[in-house]
């Protein structure tokens, strides 16, 4: 296989590609890192992992980016394979999703050549991190209600506002930030996207404790100046770009991997204890397994659309909604099959499975909220898909 900048001419053996990624993630150094992450202290959080660098060295962290930008010139399918193998292997993927799947891939599509040269190589190598600053105290699902302002300052702007419920801002080097550049009676007009350096005066990052292993961050933008070179895409046209951007992350591949890992723990335990043969447990677990396989298949249909350059936001919304709705039933089954053992954290004197189920239980509510809440997904399906409301 020859990687070229022209992805359309590249033919990849995806079975072989998946095997390559899986082999790297099965290496002892990666397994050791996964184990150490699972056993982090109660106030510690995953930052930059060596495994991202090991993947980046081989162009595997962002395989769908051109070779010149640190990728392999492959496509969305290979990117999805990497995301999937990461989550199945238990490698924390929030940094990967933010840096590669969202910010980096968006820059690749909409950024200037200078922006790509500045940011993509480091992101692809796993040596720099990016995050997203969209959500605000009064603007969650209704992003058009955001209040962060970009006040004109010469040929640039000064950003003023507060972003909340974001992730990894305390570790990231740069953020893709949405701010209002114009007032308009049409709420979604007048929003622009900026690349904002986070380790700079004018940007204050605080962590907000959560019940999960990942903290939120509160980022105060206190007049930090950004120039025209920091705008991504047309000024005032950020809303449409946000929509396209959210579609990039909305395949369900990452959520599926996380939930599949949890269900496999449950199935293994159930098999060991003979519960799969028990009529009270077996059929229920088999149906959960079926639903999760269906979610997986649907997620890959959305990847197929990305691969074919087809835009189908309804199918993407269906995929995200459906897979995220499997999380709670799977965790319920974990409680049923494991009993009280399921609630032992990794810091328990005798943790079970490194407390993955306990951590999963705490993280579960995020699945129905992140990347578009379940209600927003249903709204999109009802309106754009069924023509209702």
């Amino acid at each position: 296989m020859t990687a070229t900048a022209d992805r359309a001419t590249v033919r990849t053996d995806r079975t072989g590609f998946r095997a390559e990624v899986r082999a790297l993630l099965a290496e002892e150094r990666v397994r050791d890192q996964v184990t150490s992450v699972a056993r982090l202290g109660p106030t510690a959080e995953v930052e930059r992992l060596d495994v991202y660098g090991w993947l980046g060295e081989r162009g595997l962290l962002a395989p769908h980016w051109p070779v010149g930008h640190g990728g392999r010139g492959l496509g969305p399918a290979e990117a999805a394979i990497v995301t999937e193998e990461l989550t199945l292997a238990g490698v924390p993927d929030d940094v990967h999703v933010l840096s590669i799947d969202i910010v980096g891939t968006f820059l690749l599509r909409a950024g200037t050549d200078a922006q790509k040269r500045q940011h993509l190589p480091g992101l692809a190598a796993g040596t720099s991190l990016a995050t997203v600053l969209f959500t605000e105290p009064s603007a969650g699902s209704d992003l058009a209600a955001l209040r962060t302002r970009a006040v004109p300052d010469g040929d640039g702007w000064r950003l003023h506002g507060v972003k909340l419920y974001n992730q990894k801002s305390q570790f990231a080097d740069v953020a893709l930030c949405a701010a209002r550049t114009s007032e308009s009676p049409v709420q979604w007009h007048g929003i622009s996207l900026f690349l904002v350096p986070l380790r700079t005066p004018g940007v204050h990052v605080e962590t907000v404790p959560t019940m999960t292993n990942e903290q939120f961050t509160r980022v105060t933008l206190d007049g930090i100046r950004v120039g025209p070179e920091d705008v991504v895409g047309p000024v005032d046209a950020g809303w449409q770009q946000i929509g396209e951007l959210l579609l990039l992350e909305r395949t369900g591949i990452d959520f599926h991997g996380k939930v599949r890992r949890l269900l496999d723990l449950v199935l293994r335990r159930a098999a060991e204890r003979g519960l799969l043969a028990d009529p009270a447990y077996g059929p229920v677990l088999a149906e959960l397994d079926a639903a999760l396989r269906a979610a997986h298949a649907l997620a890959w249909e959305t990847v197929g659309n990305l691969e074919a350059g087809v835009s189908d936001p309804v199918l993407a919304s269906m995929a995200k909604w459906y897979v995220s709705e499997q999380t709670r039933p799977v965790l319920d089954s974990a409680l049923e099959v494991h009993g009280p053992d399921a609630v032992r954290s990794v810091w328990d004197p005798h943790p079970v499975d490194d407390g993955l189920l306990e951590a999963g239980f705490r993280a579960a509510p995020t699945h129905r909220l992140a990347s578009g809440s379940s209600e927003v997904m249903l709204y999109l399906i009802a309106t754009s898909g069924l023509g209702l409301l």
Binding site: E84, P279, E287, A290, W300
Partner: protein
């Protein structure tokens, strides 16, 4: 998409679909009364069209194409010997299946040895019967005796295929020793009790992979039910858009809109499972999806998902039509009544869950 499926997609359009949905319709308690002659002619004509389009050619040659075709027929709620003929082809092999594309060789498959009685508790001793517990066939001197229930279209096919433990017997459905009585089931369809009294057996065929054939049949049934879910959904959505209440279209109400949105996503997921189990996406993902490669698990899981949905979607479709949904004129009640039947003939969701659980247990201990 194959030419056959493309041709079928053009055929199953908004004009023909309502006609297809009512083919074979009978009144409640119709008993042995056959539908009108015009109806029989129409059904024969449709079967001929399926042959002309090449849909029957898909049997045994293009499993993924057959799944797509069956899904389309499900949206039209089309009833025919197609699914049983496909199962028979799988059980009996290429020699039997060779004339199938012409439309002249068709099958009714007997899976439920009577008295049917429904599922048994795990590990319970008791009479065999049902797709997962085939009974030994009572054969003597090349003749077969016994009773089976819920055999579809047995009066309209060329071959009755009786599935036993490890073997299948082919009998002339119109031959000596064969008595059929129509079930009067909730869907008012073409299901029959079949009594065989020393009926001559044309052929006795070993069936080494009955479980696999059943799994593939379940996958096709799941495809059909996914199609029927889509048809029922479209009826419900269409009704919401047309019907006004409290000064606005029902389509503006959030409660039914969100319920239908969720159901449509679940239908999409079930469809994705069926297609993936038929091989779709394997090259894209670099690995089999769904339970690809394991026909037993895939068939059980696909049909389990689709069956649960079919019951839910069809009930929701009737409900959202209000009182009109209960009338004979409403198509939604056709889906509702059919769902009750079509979600049991190859095993109930609970039984399918049991089959899938056993398969998963074997995988996890293997």
């Amino acid at each position: 998409m194959s030419d056959a499926v493309a041709g079928l997609a053009e055929l199953v359009d908004a004009e023909l679909t309502p006609v297809l949905r009512r083919l074979g319709a009978r009144g409640r308690g119709a008993g042995e009364q056959a539908p009108a002659e015009e109806d029989a002619q129409a059904r024969a004509a449709v079967w001929g069209v399926l042959a002309e389009l090449g849909v029957l050619d898909l049997i045994g040659t293009d499993p993924a194409g057959l799944l797509a075709a069956v899904e389309l027929l499900g949206t039209a709620l089309h009833q025919s010997p197609l699914l049983d003929t496909a199962l028979a082809a799988d059980l009996l092999g290429p020699a039997w299946a060779a004339p199938v594309p012409t439309g002249t060789r068709t099958a009714a498959v007997a899976l439920w040895a009577a008295p049917v009685g429904g599922p048994l508790p795990s590990g319970a001793a008791g009479p065999a019967g049902g797709p997962d517990r085939p009974a030994a066939l009572a054969l003597a001197g090349g003749r077969l005796s016994g009773r089976w229930g819920f055999v579809g279209f047995v009066r309209d096919v060329s071959d009755l295929v009786v599935v036993g433990d490890g073997v299948a017997a082919v009998v002339d459905p119109g031959g000596p020793g064969v008595v059929t009585r129509r079930h009067d089931d909730v869907a008012r369809g073409d299901l029959y009790e079949v009594d065989l009294d020393s009926a001559p057996v044309r052929d006795l065929v070993p069936v080494p992979d009955r479980a696999g054939a059943l799994g593939r049949a379940r996958l096709r049934q799941a495809a059909y039910l996914v199609g029927s879910c889509q048809g029922a959904l479209e009826l419900a959505v269409g009704h919401l858009k047309r019907r006004d209440a409290f000064g606005a279209p029902l389509a503006k109400m959030q409660s039914p809109a969100y319920r239908l949105a969720g159901l449509s996503a679940r239908v999409a997921a079930a469809r994705a499972y069926v297609r993936a189990a038929g091989g779709a996406g394997t090259e894209l993902a670099g690995a089999p999806l769904a339970a690809g490669g394991d026909d037993v698990l895939a068939g059980a899981q696909a049909l389990l998902l689709a069956s649960r949905l079919a019951r839910e979607v069809s009930a929701e479709a009737v409900h959202l039509h209000g009182a009109f949904g209960l009338t004979e004129a409403c198509e939604a009640q056709l889906f509702y009544r059919r769902a009750a039947v079509d979600t049991t003939l190859l095993g109930t969701p609970t039984e399918l869950g049991r089959v899938a659980a056993a398969r998963l247990a074997a995988r996890w201990s293997g």
